[in-house]
């Protein structure tokens, strides 16, 4: 299927495509999550040191990965906006920020819940936790900046600049466990192999894909709403079935 990328880059063309994609990713996420949770909570054995508590890793690690991954994707869309000026790029970045913030919050919260029984504390100022917290503030700052700027075009571009500047934080989070002796263990999952037991690893990977599919579905759904809101004066929006129905409902 030869995709004409430039054709797809207009909000009008992408709107129906996004709509078609959402069910696939939503169902995919649900199925993968079911498998992953079964693997994680049902099949994988107890940890030698931590007992059952470690199982929170099946939520904590995927959400942390997603929080970093989504930020980078958002920054890339920001760069595309600054480079090519396509409105859809700005809308994509706008759609990603809230989900990214949520993932970061989940990572921090599950991390705190995990930390209490294992390290004896909900919070410690180690490098990875601190930089993940900074990431949350970066997301919140982006959302606040967008709210504060009335003009959507200026908001898109300002958020793009800010997200690109903040990208420096991502390598810091990722490599912090290597650079400093911290409470966090070193990376147990590398591209070349892993030191983890197989079912644990499988569970984590499946959950990661589940989170990834969930993020895509939610971001696309939010994107559709953003497109409708920002393009509301365009003729194609007025002609949409859902908009006409809503209009009739409101008129009654």
């Amino acid at each position: 299927m030869a995709l004409n990328w430039f054709k797809l880059s207009s909000p009008a063309s992408f709107y129906p495509v996004a709509g078609a994609m959402i069910p696939w990713f939503a169902w995919g996420a649900a199925i993968l999550a079911a498998i992953g949770l079964w693997l994680g909570f049902g099949i994988a054995p107890s940890d030698f040191q931590q007992g059952e508590v470690y199982r929170i890793i099946f939520i904590h690690v995927p959400s942390a990965w997603m929080s970093m991954f989504l930020y980078v994707v958002m920054a890339v869309w920001g760069a595309l906006l600054l480079g090519f000026g396509t409105r859809l790029s700005g809308m994509m970045a706008q759609a990603i920020a809230p989900t990214g913030a949520l993932m970061t919050f989940v990572a921090l919260w599950t991390g705190a819940l995990w930390g209490r029984p294992t390290w004896g504390t909900y919070w410690a100022w180690d490098a990875r936790m601190t930089s993940e917290l900074i990431l949350l503030f970066l997301y919140l700052g982006l959302i606040a900046l967008r709210q504060a700027i009335g003009d959507p075009r200026r908001a898109d571009r300002a958020c793009a600049v800010l997200s690109i500047v903040g990208v420096v934080n991502i390598p810091i989070i990722y490599f912090s466990v290597q650079w400093w002796n911290t409470l966090h263990q070193g990376a147990s999952v590398k591209l070349t192999g892993s030191s983890m037991e197989t079912t644990m690893l499988a569970g984590m990977l499946v959950m990661s894909f589940a989170f990834w599919f969930y993020s895509i579905a939610v971001v696309l759904a939010r994107l559709r709403v953003i497109i409708l809101e920002r393009e509301r004066d365009a003729t194609w929006v007025g002609a949409l079935a859902e908009v006409r129905a809503a209009g009739q409902g409101a008129a009654r």
Partner: protein, 208 residues
């Protein structure tokens, strides 16, 4: 030569104007008129290279230009609503600062002469803070004289000027056009130019 085609401007969801086009050659002026809120300032800022039109194109001497284009930045002298003066600097310092910013030389002799031309010699060592609105505008006029840029973009240039100031402005624009320069001005008052050199653009009537 400054040329524009199909310019349109939007602020958020409101459309200011659409299908604006014109062509102004060396020695000619474009006068933009229209009621408040029809986008005169927005249009002038687009032509100066400060913001991008939501659609349409602008060409300078055949080359397409957009916001902050190098081609435009070297040729435009933009005089907006605000006179761009620092309160803490004297009239002379402000003038020197603005002229240097334009990339032109500002030897004291030239500064003196320019300030004389705009009748500010006796005030030149005063901080801009104590000058009247009309006097602050005149510093802007002096800057136009010294910056030596071919394209003048003037937003309500007659504001705050008294009769003598307005006459001075008209003379300056006239001489500028004689030298082969161009001017785009948003103004209600006549600049006293020969009708043959002036094109008119009335905003507020082009939006359907």
């Amino acid at each position: 030569m400054l040329e524009a085609q199909n310019l349109a401007a939007r602020r958020g969801h409101a459309e200011l104007f659409r299908d604006v086009g014109f062509r102004v050659g060396a020695g000619d002026a474009l006068v933009v008129t229209g009621p408040n809120g029809t986008g005169k300032t927005t249009l002038l800022r687009m032509l100066a290279g400060l913001s991008a039109p939501s659609s349409g194109e602008i060409h300078w001497n055949g080359r397409s230009v957009g916001p902050f284009s190098e081609a435009l930045r070297g040729v435009v002298a933009y005089a907006g609503h605000l006179p761009a003066l620092k309160d803490e600097l004297t009239a002379e310092e402000n003038l020197a600062s603005l002229v240097t910013l334009s990339g032109a030389k500002a030897p004291p002799g030239d500064l003196d002469r320019a300030l004389e031309n705009v009748a500010l010699s006796h005030r030149r060592h005063l901080p801009a803070r104590v000058l009247s609105a009309g006097q602050r505008r005149r510093i802007g006029l002096a800057r136009l004289l010294l910056a030596r840029r071919p394209l003048w973009i003037l937003d309500e240039p007659v504001t705050a000027l008294d009769a003598a100031g307005a006459a001075l402005l008209a003379r300056m624009v006239h001489d500028h056009l004689d030298r082969g320069g161009l001017a785009v001005a948003a103004t209600h008052q006549s600049l006293g130019l020969e009708p043959a050199r002036v094109q008119s653009l009335a905003l507020g009537e082009t939006v359907a």
